[in-house]
C-alpha cells in the first residue's frame, strides 16, 4: 500500500511538472474570423485578399509557428453588405473569436461601436484613417489612404517642372472610401503643398470619359490623382490614350499624367488597361512581385504551394491579406511568448506594444509595422511605383509623406 502511494506521488509530481513546463496555450485553438467581399462590389480585391489570409493561416498551422496551438480562421463572404458583416461578426463572437479581420470602410464604421464594447482587436482591409478615430481597437496594417494620396501629391509638387503650382484634379470613388483622403489632401494644400486642386470628380459608371477628359484639359489640368478601384481608372486611362492625352513622361506639358493610391493600381489595372496603363504612378505600402526580392519570391512560392493561379499569386491584395494574417499570428505568438493567456485583451496589449525594438517587420511591406496607444497605423512608409513596359517598377525609396502627421 505504501509502495502504491509512493508510485502515485511520483506520477502526480511528473504530471504536475509537465503541466507547468508546457508552454502557455499548448494544444489550444485560437478562434479568429474574417468577413469580406468575396462576391459583389470590390470583390476583385476581396477575393485575392481572402486567399492571402487563408494561405497564411494554413502556413502558420502547417509550420507550427504557434507550436502545438492552432488557428481557426473561418472566412465569410459578406458581399460588401454591412448587415451581413454584422451577422458574421456576431457569429464569430458566438464561436469565441479573439481577433477580427474585417474589410470595408462602411462596415468598419458601422461596427466600430461594437468593436469598442467587445474590446476586440481588429485589422481591416480598409486604410481609411477615420477608422482609427472610430474605435481604439482598429489597427490599420499599412499607411492610410490619406498618406498614400498625399504621398503621390507630394511627388507631383516636388517634380512638376512648369511655372506656378501644378493643376491637379481628384478622381474619386463616390463613397466614403473614395472621399476618405480628400480632407487631408486639402489640408496639405492649405498647409503649403504647392498644388492647385482644380476639380473633384466623383465618378459614376460611365463607359466613356471623353467629355470629362476634355473638360479637365480645358482647365489646364496636368495631373489626375485617383482614389477608387481599378476598373474606372482603366476606363479613364483607355479613353485618355484614345484621345492622345496621356503624358508619355511624368508631367509632359499639354498632356495628363495619371496617378493613384492603393486600390487603383496593381496587376489588375495593367490587365484591364493594357498599354494605356504605361506611365501610371501608384503608391502603396506593399511590395509588388514585379520588383523581385525575398518577400516576392516567398509570396509566389506560397501561392504555388497552395495551388493559386498566377493572377492571385501576383496580386498585391494577396500580399495584403497575408500581411493582415501575419499581424494577427504575430500578436498571438508574442502574447504566448510573454507567458500570457491569449485573449482579446492580451492581444490588444501586445499590439499596442508593437513599437521600437518590438516593431514587427513583415517583408510584405516597405517598412516595419508599429503600433502604440496613440498610433494605430502599421507601416508609415509608402512606395511610389510607375508602370514601365507592362509592369510596376519602384521609383526611388520608400518615404513618409511630409504633410501627414
Amino acid at each position: 500500500m505504501k509502495r502504491n502511494m509512493y508510485y502515485l506521488a511520483i506520477v502526480m509530481a511528473v504530471a504536475a511538472g509537465l503541466a507547468f513546463s508546457a508552454p502557455v496555450g499548448a494544444g489550444e485553438t485560437y478562434q479568429l474570423g474574417l468577413s469580406l467581399a468575396i462576391t459583389g462590389p470590390t470583390s476583385d480585391a476581396g477575393n485575392p485578399y481572402s486567399k492571402g489570409v487563408e494561405d497564411y493561416m494554413r502556413f502558420a498551422n502547417d509550420t507550427k509557428i504557434l507550436g502545438d496551438a492552432k488557428i481557426d480562421c473561418p472566412i465569410r463572404d459578406d458581399m460588401y453588405k454591412t448587415a451581413v458583416t454584422k451577422r458574421n461578426f456576431e457569429d464569430f463572437l458566438d464561436q469565441g473569436m479573439i481577433f477580427f479581420l474585417s474589410y470595408a470602410t462602411g462596415a468598419n464604421q458601422a461596427l466600430a461601436p461594437d468593436f469598442t464594447e467587445v474590446q476586440i482587436p481588429v485589422v481591416p482591409a480598409s486604410m481609411d484613417s477615420s477608422l482609427m478615430k472610430a474605435s481604439p481597437y482598429i489597427f490599420l496594417p499599412i499607411a492610410s489612404y490619406s498618406h498614400q494620396y498625399v504621398g503621390v501629391a507630394e511627388y507631383v509638387a516636388a517634380n512638376h517642372k512648369g511655372e506656378g503650382a501644378a493643376k491637379v484634379a481628384a478622381f474619386i470613388h463616390p463613397s466614403a472610401f473614395g472621399r476618405a483622403p480628400l480632407a487631408d489632401f486639402k489640408a496639405a494644400v492649405a498647409a503649403g503643398l504647392n498644388l492647385e486642386l482644380v476639380e473633384v470628380v466623383e465618378h459614376g459608371k460611365d463607359l466613356d470619359n471623353s467629355a470629362l477628359l476634355q473638360r479637365l484639359a480645358s482647365k489646364g489640368v496636368q495631373y489626375v490623382l485617383c482614389h477608387t478601384v481599378q476598373s474606372p481608372v482603366a476606363t479613364l486611362l483607355n479613353d485618355a490614350q484614345r484621345l492622345g492625352m496621356t503624358a508619355k513622361t511624368f508631367g509632359e506639358p499639354g498632356k495628363i499624367t495619371f496617378m493613384g493610391a492603393h486600390y487603383t493600381g496593381g496587376n489588375d489595372l495593367i490587365a484591364l488597361a493594357g498599354t494605356a496603363a504605361e506611365g501610371f504612378h501608384w503608391t502603396t505600402s506593399y511590395r509588388v512581385t514585379s520588383e523581385k526580392g525575398p518577400w516576392t519570391d516567398w509570396q509566389l512560392d506560397m501561392a504555388k504551394k497552395y495551388g493559386r493561379d498566377d493572377k492571385t499569386a501576383n496580386s498585391h491584395n494577396y500580399a495584403s491579406g497575408m500581411m493582415a494574417a501575419q499581424i494577427a499570428v504575430e500578436a498571438i505568438r508574442r502574447t504566448r511568448e510573454a507567458g500570457k493567456k491569449v485573449t482579446k485583451e492580451t492581444l490588444y496589449e501586445t499590439l499596442n506594444q508593437m513599437n521600437g525594438d518590438k516593431a514587427f517587420t513583415s517583408l510584405a511591406a516597405v517598412g516595419p509595422v508599429t503600433y502604440s496607444v496613440t498610433d494605430r497605423m502599421g507601416v508609415d512608409n509608402v512606395q511610389l511605383y510607375v508602370v514601365k513596359d507592362g509592369v510596376f517598377r519602384a521609383v526611388g525609396e520608400p518615404f513618409k509623406p511630409k504633410y501627414m502627421k
Binding site: 462576391t39 463572404d77 460588401y80 454584422k86 451577422r87 463572437l93 461601436p113 461594437d114 463613397s175 493559386r308
Partner: protein
C-alpha cells in the same frame, strides 16, 4: 355553420359581419393566441445566439416593411420599386436627428417609441408625395416614378453632408426600465420591440382590409373605372395606399436604425427594393400571411445559399471561383422556379393547408 364556433368547419356565413371577422372560428383565434404566446416565450426557454436573434430581428423588420409593400402593390395593384427608399426615409429620420442633436440625446434614447412613430409619419409624408403621380400614372410608368424616388433618395443621402454622405450615422443605446439596454440584451430587447410592432401592424392591416378603406384598395386594383363609378376616388385611394406603405416602411426603417445602432445608405439601395418586392411575391401578393412568409423564406434561402456556397468551396476548383457564383445563381434559380410553378406565393400553400383542415373531417 355550426352553432359551436369551436368545432365549426367550412364557410357558411349568414351575414356580412360573419364574413368580416378577423378569426372565423374560435379554433382560429385559439391557434393564433398559442402561436403568439410561442413567439413571445421561446427566447425565455432557448439560449439563442446573437447571430440567430439578429437574423430573426431582420426578418421581423422586413415583415413590417413588406406589410406596406403588400398594401400598395398587392392590395392596391400599384407597382413600387422604391420601397427601400421609404424604409430609408424612416431610418434617416432617426439617424439624421441623432446627427443633429447627438446620438445619445434623450429624444433619441429615451423617447425612442415616439421616434419610431415619427419615422413612420415621415415615411407617410414621403409616401403621399411620391404617390401623387399615381393619380395620373399606371403600371410601368408608375413603377418608373417610384424608381426615380429610389434614385433621388440614394443620391441625396450619398452626397449631402447632413446625412454624413451615406456613411454610418451612429445612434446611442436606448433606455428602458432599469437603465440603458446593454450589448448583452440588445438583440433580445429589440426582438420583443419589433415583435410587438409587427403584431400590432399586422392586426392593423387585417382590420384595414375589412373596412371600407381596405375594400377601396382592392376595388381600385381590380378596376379603377368601376370603382370610380361606384363613388370611390381612385386617385386619392392610390395616394393613401402609398401613404400607408410609407408609414409601415418608415417604422421598419426606424427599427432598423435602432437595431443596427445606426444608419448607412447601403441598406436602402435599389437592390433592397427588389429584395422587398421578391419577398412580397414569394410570400404571396395581396395576402397578409404572404407578408410574414415572404421575408422568412427569402432570408432563409439567402442563409442556406450562403452555407451551400461555403460548403462547396471546399471541393470545387479554386481557379473557377464556382463557389462564389453558386449563391447568386442558386438564389436566382429558386426565385424563377417559384414564380413559374407557384406564382400565387407561399400564402397559397397556407391557404391549401387551412382549407384542408377547415373541411376535416367533412362535417357537412
Amino acid at each position: 355553420m355550426s352553432a359551436n364556433r369551436f368545432f365549426a368547419t367550412g364557410n357558411f356565413f349568414t351575414d356580412y359581419r360573419q364574413e368580416q371577422r378577423i378569426f372565423r372560428t374560435h379554433l382560429d383565434r385559439g391557434l393564433f393566441v398559442v402561436f403568439l404566446a410561442c413567439l413571445f416565450a421561446w427566447p425565455l426557454f432557448f439560449d439563442a445566439s446573437n447571430r440567430t436573434m439578429l437574423v430573426i430581428n431582420n426578418i421581423l423588420i422586413a415583415v413590417v416593411a413588406v406589410y406596406g409593400l403588400n398594401l400598395v402593390t398587392g392590395f392596391a395593384g400599384l407597382i413600387s420599386i422604391g420601397h427601400a427608399a421609404f424604409v430609408g426615409v424612416g431610418a434617416y429620420t432617426v439617424a439624421g436627428l441623432a446627427r443633429a442633436i447627438g446620438a445619445s440625446h434623450p429624444l433619441i434614447v429615451h423617447w425612442w417609441p415616439l421616434m419610431i412613430l415619427a419615422a413612420g409619419g415621415m415615411g407617410a409624408v414621403f409616401g403621399a408625395f411620391v404617390g401623387l403621380p399615381a393619380m395620373r400614372l399606371k403600371h410601368l410608368y408608375l413603377a418608373i416614378a417610384t424608381l426615380s424616388f429610389q434614385m433621388i433618395f440614394t443620391w441625396t443621402i450619398q452626397f449631402m453632408p447632413t446625412f454624413n454622405q451615406g456613411q454610418m450615422i451612429p445612434v446611442g443605446r436606448v433606455a428602458w426600465i432599469g437603465g440603458t439596454v446593454g450589448r448583452k440584451d440588445h438583440y433580445f430587447f429589440w426582438y420583443y420591440v419589433i415583435l410587438v410592432v409587427a403584431v400590432v401592424c399586422g392586426l392593423a392591416v387585417r382590420n384595414l382590409l375589412r373596412s371600407r378603406y381596405g375594400r377601396c384598395l382592392v376595388a381600385v386594383r381590380d378596376n379603377d373605372r368601376a370603382a370610380d363609378a361606384m363613388g370611390m376616388h381612385p386617385g386619392l385611394t392610390k395616394v393613401y395606399a402609398f401613404t400607408l406603405a410609407g408609414f409601415f416602411a418608415g417604422v421598419a426603417g426606424a427599427l432598423h436604425t435602432y437595431m443596427f445602432r445606426g444608419a448607412g445608405f447601403e441598406s436602402f439601395t435599389l437592390h433592397h427594393s427588389i429584395t422587398y418586392l421578391a419577398m412580397a411575391i414569394v410570400g404571396g401578393l395581396g395576402t397578409l400571411p404572404g407578408s410574414l412568409l415572404g421575408p422568412a423564406a427569402i432570408y432563409t434561402l439567402e442563409l442556406e445559399m450562403e452555407r451551400l456556397s461555403e460548403w462547396s468551396g471546399a471541393f470545387l476548383p479554386d481557379s473557377l471561383n464556382l463557389a462564389t457564383a453558386l449563391r447568386p445563381l442558386g438564389f436566382g434559380l429558386v426565385i424563377v422556379l417559384f414564380l413559374m410553378f407557384e406564382p400565387r406565393g407561399m400564402a397559397n400553400w397556407w391557404r391549401i393547408c387551412r382549407s384542408y383542415v377547415k373541411l376535416w373531417p367533412f362535417r357537412y
